[in-house]
Amino acid sequence: MDSFIRGVTLISQICGIIAAGLIAAGVLIVCEMVFVRYVLNQNTIWQTDFTTYCLVGATFIGSPYVLLTRGHVNVDVLPHYLGQTARYYLALASILMSLAFCAVMTVLTFNFWHEAWTEGWVSDSMWRARLWIPYGTMPIGLGLITLQYVVDLISLLTGREPPFGLKPRETAEDAARAQARQALGDAP
């Protein structure tokens, strides 16, 4: 079980690096596009589409990493004010719901990708990009989030992680302080 958890964690971390790379590529290509269009006065063909696809890819591929690092924003008022048992069941319900959503979306986006792949869809821009490539990031990313949620579920059920990652007696104020310390630590 531990090796499964470690494996998924590693994949999620790699996803984070890939997503960061895609965002960096997006920035560089926008600069290249500006140079070609405004300095060389030439038309740009593929840059707009490519940057958008990079971003879509980064969003889906990066999502498991963001989940792993608890970066997806949530409303944590209720978890903070509930007792241990209620907090546990709330965490269970919220994980199951998110897991179900991601699993259903993986199937739906896989079908969508498959259609684009078999019917050879291309973008209606000048570039005529093959759409299965950007569409493919959806089932991959969502599938990996589903796996990450399975890990979260196992960790919760076996007591490896406390519900919502909160320590037993942690209150809203403690969590806010921890966040504040992190923000301060990052600032020079």
Binding site: L55, G62, A91
Partner: protein, 440 residues
């Protein structure tokens, strides 16, 4: 089942799901899929994947990670400290100068980084000890920094405005311009209040006991000027119609990263990774909520819930200012619990038809909504700024910091009232520079 009953059910379930602590993006998506299946059957699922994807396939969205990266690059460098020093050295002898350099540095730094906690941390580390050294009351020293940090989401470039623009199909350029004068007005209100309360309690808000030499004054400029020039350049390029927001932001982000590396000698790749990692985390989080909010919005419109709500409210013939008050109260309460990005993406598509039917300007409302969101940033229980300031000055009790922020919350509410009386404060600059909007 009538759309009204469906609407009530959707509202209640959405509240329950959001409060469950599940990520906003997945919660909204799950609600959208569940209600589509319940009310329209499994056939409705055929468009879900495409809707989810199209939510992100928009070149304008590229500007979000670019502006986030710009902020992350500046935020991870010691630029905040230099900015504070520069303003302090030039303004310390002016009446109210110490307050102006604190809140002014907050306003500029918040605009550069777009991040309220980063601003509080950077300026607060310098400003709070300095103010306390001069014997200023703790609540004023901490409260003013808390409030100053919130200015970033109002003064352009602001991600909050980009999200509002995307969610309501309002011009982002127009929104940015609309935020300028209210942003300056709010900064002015903060400064006025601080100077007033200090002088009432018998403190001087300028220094008389020492002098900076001209050399020291000029020394502080070169490090900070390039960043300000980049932001001004980005704005100029945007409004000169030279480039799109995404192009301007992309080049701005690349330049900010390069400058941060060169000026502050951030040669270690670890630091580059930190900038990129923070950019990725923040952007992915926002973009995922956008995709889910588009799906959620699709569910609302295909079940005619948005239209029914707008029509229902119009038929109630409520006075439009009572309506505005109720909307603001609703946003204020939401802001206590939910981060601004999520509130704007979820509520603005629903609120927009109500606002326009009542005869309000959507750009003006964007500004009002943003000021309202700022209040949530310094109000417990979410108010992260309060805890950051508390970590900088641990001997000041949290309750004292909270009391210190209350007058500034009052300033923000006053700003909203002033904007309601004189909407031109927001609309004059965009109308003047970009022509009068067609939606009126």
């Amino acid at each position: 089942m009538s759309p009204t009953t469906q609407g009530v059910i959707v509202l209640v379930v959405t509240l329950i799901v959001l409060l469950s602590g599940a990520p906003v993006a997945f919660g909204l998506g799950a609600i959208a899929i569940a209600f589509l299946v319940i009310f329209q059957g499994f056939d409705s699922l055929s468009v879900v994947a495409e809707t989810f994807y199209t939510g992100l396939q928009d070149f304008t969205l590229v500007s979000i990670p670019m502006f986030v990266m710009m902020g992350a690059a500046i935020g991870s460098s010691p630029a905040g400290k230099d900015l504070y020093e520069a303003l302090d050295r030039w303004l310390y002898r002016v009446r109210g100068g110490l307050v102006i350099s604190n809140l002014g540095a907050c306003a500029i730094f918040a605009a550069l980084t777009g991040s309220s906690p980063a601003c509080c941390a950077a300026i607060g580390k310098m400003g709070i000890p300095e103010m306390r050294r001069r014997g200023y009351p703790d609540d004023v020293a901490t409260g003013s920094i808390c409030a100053g940090g919130t200015l970033g989401i109002l003064i352009p470039p602001s991600i909050t405005f980009i999200l509002y623009g995307i969610a309501t199909e309002t011009s982002i350029g127009r929104l940015f311009l609309a935020g300028v004068v209210p942003g300056l007005m709010l900064t002015g209100l903060f400064i006025l209040w601080t100077v007033f309360i200090l002088s009432r309690r018998g403190f001087r808000s300028h220094a008389v006991d020492f002098r900076y030499s001209w050399k020291e004054k000029f020394q502080s400029i070169p490090k900070i000027a390039p960043f300000i020039l980049i932001i001004v350049g980005v704005m100029y390029v945007l409004y000169g119609g030279v480039a799109t927001p995404s192009e301007a932001a992309g080049v701005g982000a690349a330049l900010c990263v390069v400058l941060a590396i060169v000026i502050y000698r951030m040669w270690s790749p670890d630091k580059w990774w930190l900038i990129l990692r923070d950019t990725t985390r923040e952007s992915v989080m926002i973009l995922m909520i956008i995709a889910a909010a588009v799906l959620f919005g699709y569910m609302l419109t295909s079940l005619y819930l948005t239209q029914t709500l707008a029509q229902g409210i119009a038929e109630m013939h409520v006075n439009k200012w009572v309506l505005m008050l109720l909307i603001n109260l609703f946003l204020l309460v939401s802001g206590f619990f939910i981060p601004p990005a999520a509130i704007i993406l979820m509520t603005s598509p629903i609120l927009l038809p109500i606002i326009t039917t009542a005869g309000f300007d959507p750009v003006w409302f964007g500004v009002v909504m943003t000021i309202n969101m700022e209040i949530g940033l310094i109000h417990p229980p979410v108010g992260l700024n309060i805890y950051i300031v508390n970590s900088i000055a641990p001997d000041v009790p949290v309750t004292r910091v909270m009391w210190g922020t209350i007058p500034y919350v009052g300033c923000m509410m006053l700003a909203i009232v002033i904007l309601c009386i004189f909407p031109e404060i927001a609309t004059w600059l965009p109308d003047h520079l970009m022509g009068v909007a067609v939606h009126r």
